[in-house]
C-alpha cells in the first residue's frame, strides 16, 4: 500500500540524479489551508516548511534553504509580492509560485509578480499543483547550475 501510493516520489527519485527530497516553503496566513497542504505534500515525501506571513517566509528561506517557495499573494504584514521581491534579491534562482484568490497579474513586466515562476488560483487542483512544483524545482535547479557554469 505504502509503496503503491506515492508513485511521483518514486518516479522523481528514479529520474533524479541526486536522490534528495525536495524542500518546499509554504507561506500563507490561512493556517488550515497551509497546514493541510503541507501534510499532503509531506505524505508524498516532500520536506515542507510552513510559515504564516511574509517576514517569516524570508527568515525561513534563509534557514531552510527551500528548493521552491510557495507564497500567498495576500498576507498580513509583508504581502506576497513584496516577499517575492525580497526573496528574489536574496536568492535570484529560487523559483517562487504565487497563490492568489484571483489572477490579478499586472500586465506590465515591472511588477515583482512577473518574476514568479507561476501564478496559481485557489482552490488548487492538487495534481496540477504538484506538477507545477516539480517543474519549478527543475527550473530552479537548471537556473542555479547555469549560474554556476557562469554561462
Amino acid at each position: 500500500m505504502e509503496a503503491a501510493f506515492p508513485p511521483r516520489t518514486f518516479a522523481r527519485g528514479f529520474h533524479a540524479e541526486k536522490l534528495m527530497t525536495m524542500r518546499v516553503l509554504l507561506a500563507d496566513d490561512e493556517r488550515d489551508f497551509v497546514d493541510t497542504l503541507a501534510e499532503r505534500l509531506s505524505l508524498r515525501g516532500y520536506e515542507v516548511t510552513t510559515v504564516h506571513n511574509g517576514a517569516e517566509a524570508v527568515r525561513a528561506a534563509t534557514s531552510a534553504r527551500p528548493d521552491v517557495a510557495v507564497l500567498d499573494l495576500f498576507m498580513p504584514g509583508l504581502p506576497g509580492d513584496e516577499t517575492l521581491r525580497q526573496l528574489k534579491v536574496m536568492y535570484p534562482d529560487l523559483p517562487v509560485i504565487l497563490l492568489t484568490g484571483h489572477e490579478a497579474v499586472d500586465d506590465n513586466g515591472t511588477s515583482p509578480v512577473a518574476k514568479a515562476f507561476a501564478c496559481l488560483t485557489k482552490p488548487l487542483a492538487f495534481k496540477d499543483f504538484v506538477a507545477v512544483l516539480e517543474a519549478a524545482a527543475r527550473a530552479g535547479r537548471q537556473a542555479s547550475e547555469g549560474g554556476e557554469d557562469g554561462q
Partner: protein, 589 residues
Amino acid sequence: MFAALKKTFAQALEVPEAVSPARYRSLKRLMTVLIVAVSVTPLLLLTIISHMQYMRTLEREMESPLYDMARKTQAALELYLGERVSTVSYLAHAYRYSDLSDERSLNRVFLALKSEYQGFVDMGLVDGDGRQIAYVGPYKLKGADYAGKPWLRETEIKGRYISNAILGYRGYPHLVIAVHRLEESGASWTLRVGTDTLRIQQIVSSEGSARDTDVFLADAAGVLQTDSRAYGKALNPLPFPLPQASHEPEVCRMTGPDGRSLLIASCTLDGTDFRLLAVKPVEKAFRPWLALRAELLWVIFGGIALIVIASSLLMRHLVDRLQASDERRVAVFAQMEHNQKLSSIGRLAAGVAHEVNNPLAVIYEKAGLARDLIDLGKIGGDEKEKQRLSSLLASIESTVERARGITHRLLGFARRMEANRQGLHIDEVIVETLSFLEREARNRGVALETELAPDLPEIISDRGQLQQVFLNLVGNALDAHVASEGEDQEARYVRVSCVCEGDALRITVRDNGMGMPPEVLRHIFEPFYSTKNDKGTGLGMFITYGIVRKLGGDISVESEEGQGSVFTIVLPLVPPDAGGEVRAQTSKP
C-alpha cells in the same frame, strides 16, 4: 413678476430627469411668446407714439391754414364794414339834419354815394321821435315808425350800429348801418343806410371755396348771415352751437349735426355781433393720412406676422435641438449608469468569489488530505466503509471543483486582460466561430448567415475572447429559436453582419427568434440572471459584456418579443490601452 418669470425659466431650463414632450412644448410656447412680446411691444409702442405725434402735427398743420383763412377773412370783412360805417358816418357829419331832411338833397347824396360805392340799397333819415321823415330807395318806407326799435335805441346809445342781416320790410337779406347825430342845436337824428350782403358773401366765399372750407358769418344767436355751402342760405339757423366768442381766431374741434368731426376756426368781427366761422370736415383733412395709415398698418401687421412666424420656427428648431440633445444626454447617462452598475456588480462578484475561494481551498485540501489518508491506509477499519468514505470525499472534491469553476468564471469578468492581443481579421474569427455551431444550427433548422463587408480592416484584439463572445451570442440566438419552436416560422435565421464605421467595427448578431421582454433586457448583462432556468449559469452574457468592455468596445441589445433580438457590438480597431504591448509583440520574429 420678474421673480416669477425667472422661476418659470429656471424650471423650464433645468436638466430634466426624464424627457417629456409636454415640457418642451410648453418651453417652446413660453420662449416664442417671450420673443414675440419682446420684439413686438417696442414696435407697437413706437408705432402708437409716432401715430399720436403725427396726428398732433397734422392737426396743427390743418389748424394753421384754417386760422390764417379766418384771420384774412376777418381782416377783409372788418375793413369792408369799417369802410361802410365810416362812409355813412362821414355823410352824417358832412350834412346837417336840415340838409338831409330835404328829400331831394337826400336823393342827391344817395345817388352820389351809390355811384361811388356798390351795394347801397336805400337811405333814410329818422328823427328823434323814431319817424323816418325822408327816404330814398326802392321801397316805400317814408314815414315808417321805428320808435322803440332796439336797433334805434342801440344806435342812439353807441352812436353807430351795424345790424344783423335782416329781411326787414324788404324781404331781401340786407344790413342796416345807422349813425346817430346830436347837433349843437339839440336836434337828434339818425342816418340809416341799407346795404345788401352780396359783397360780404363774395368776400366770405372767395376765401374758403379753394380748400374744402366752408366760410360764413353768423350772428350771436347762431343764425346764418351769409350763405353756407353745408348749412344752407342766409338767415337759416346753424345746426350746431357757436364756439366761444373771441376776436382772435380760435380753432376747435366739434362734432357736426351729421356726426362728422369738424375743425372750426371762429372769431368775432370788431364792432359787430357777427361771428366769422371757417369750417372744415376733419375726415377730408385726414384723407391722405388715412391712406398712409392703411399702408402702415399693412406693414406693421405684416411685420408682426413675420416676427411670429420667424420666432416660432426658430424656437421650434432650437427647442427641438435642445430636446434631442437632452434625450441624447439622458440616454448617455442611462448607458453610463448601466455600465457603472455592471462594473460594480462585476467587482462585487469578483470580491465574493475571492473571499469564497479561500474557504473553498481549505475544504478542498482537507478533503484531499482525508482521501490521501484513506488511500495510504493510515485509516483502519472496514474496507467497504473506507470505500464509502472515499467516495464521499470524492464527491466533496467534485462539488468544490464545481464551485471553483463558478468563482473562476466570475473572476474572469474582473480579471485584467492577459497580453495576448494580436492583429486579426474579424471576418475570419466570425466564420471560424460559426463553423463550430453549424451542426447545431442545422439540427434546429436555423440558417446561419453572415453579411461581412469586404475589405474589413485588421483589428487588434484577442482572438480567444472574441470567439467566446460570438459563441455566447450566436448560441443564445440559436436558443431563442429553440424556445419558439412551436410557432410556425417561415425562415429562421441567425445573421452575423459586420461593417466598418470610421475607426470602429460594428458587428451585429440578429435573430428572428422569440425576442425578449423589456424586463429581461434590463437585466440581461447581470450575473446569475438567466431565463434558461436549469440549463444556464446566468454568466454567459455577463462574461460577454465583460470581455467586450475589456476589449475597449461596447455592447448593446434591442429586442422585441416575438420579433427577435439584435445584439450590437462596437469594437475599436485598436483598443485604447493596447498599443505598446502589441507593438512589442509584433516586433518579435
